[in-house]
Amino acid sequence: MRTARGTATRTITRTNIPTGRVTRMSMCIRTAHATPIRMTMRTAMSMAATTVTRMKAIMRMIMSMFIRTAPGTRIRTATLTSIPMTASHPAGHQLGRLETATVELEARILAKNDALAATNRAWFADRNILALNLVSSPGAGKTTLLERTIRDLRGELALFVIEGDQATANDGLRIRAAGAPVVQINTGAGCHLEADMVAAGLKELEPASDSVVLIENVGNLVCPAMFDLGERAKVVVFSVTEGEDKPLKYPHMFAACEVMILNKIDLLPHLDFDVVAAIANAVTVNPNIAPFLVSAKSGEGLLDWYDWLRGQAAPRGSLSGNRAV
């Protein structure tokens, strides 16, 4: 019987029984033995018209399992009775144990990523490393901004870069040419970096203490907003060749960022882009966002961005709590 029970259990769970009102059913198989074999099943079936057909099918399966596991048994009768849950249960039936089918979890879905991000954050803090997560739509100029920043601040700040892209090492090569140690992460089908990828990247990159780690996320204004990497702040790069309403279209990202770099301002004379409207839209979504107007190509406006970086990357022992934006 034990064997039959185990086998039958697997058989039943493999059939796709729709959930509904809980019903017990009682099965009785009479064989040549004096004692009939009785089983009570508790199903997740509701008492629909098709239910009986399903029960019969299940019973046939159980019987065939039983015959296979106990050869030589001859089944005389097999009866099936369905019992609504409201009916009193037979004494000794441990129904209470079975009724606790719903398990409260209260688990945060992104808990694993958040825990890994917290580990990264502590790792950065131990080494007094400033980590920034750069996000933008594709083509806004993240890599160009990084190249320029590396060339201009090379002698002053120790800059390390983690490059995230779905494919190719192109950006990594550009950063290396600019003079910073870099690790290229290809996410494949992934549309964003996650904390474990950054942790793996850091192992390879081995950034020095008191340095700055710039993480260039996959070009995407949607998904990276949700995945904490352990950074000190998110920086969104937004270019004047995009629409002024981008902050309103992608509010989650602009709400998650501390800094907005409005790039490619050297192109403004050729465009109808309304800078004031763009900043107003960003502030609508995030009243605390710090905007910088720059051209990574011409260098215009970059000094303010560099001042902000220097302020954030304050050396150990300085007033770390006084990091005004």
């Binding site: 034990r2 959930t19 809980v22 004692t35 508790r42 441990q94 879905i109 949700m226």
Partner: protein
């Protein structure tokens, strides 16, 4: 597209908690300001759940409205969008609810059979 990553997280967490048992239903709490589309999770879920303990499980998504407290006037107000200001005009507010992204509970599928000792029922039926 991050809904796929989220669906994977859901399946991983629930499968671990189910510890080998089959899961019939998963109940989620998704805040309307969480940045996640409930429909997109449902779309990915069946694919990700295939072949796991959650194969064929139903997904019950409870959406939670955004609510915030204004930092200027202290009033509590509905926040249907990330950038909805307080009726007083202030944009400085603290989100009270709406950013949830939780697995509330799982319902385990019946283990199928509870074989009762023959002695208990001997003579009946």
């Amino acid at each position: 597209m991050h809904e796929l990553a989220i669906a994977r997280n859901i399946v991983a967490i629930v499968a671990e908690k189910a510890n080998g048992r089959r899961v019939a239903k998963v109940t989620l709490e998704v805040g309307k300001l969480s940045g996640v589309m409930a429909g997109a999770i449902a779309f990915c879920f069946d694919q990700v759940a295939a072949g796991t303990a959650l194969d064929g499980a139903t997904l019950d998504i409870r959406e939670i409205e955004g609510r915030a407290q204004c930092q200027a006037c202290g009033a509590e107000f509905r926040k249907p969008a990330v950038f909805t200001p307080c009726p007083c005009g202030s944009r400085q507010s603290t989100l009270l609810q709406g950013s949830e992204l939780n697995i509330k509970s799982m319902q385990l599928e019946e283990t199928g059979i509870c074989a009762e000792p023959a002695a208990v029922q001997a003579g009946r039926m």
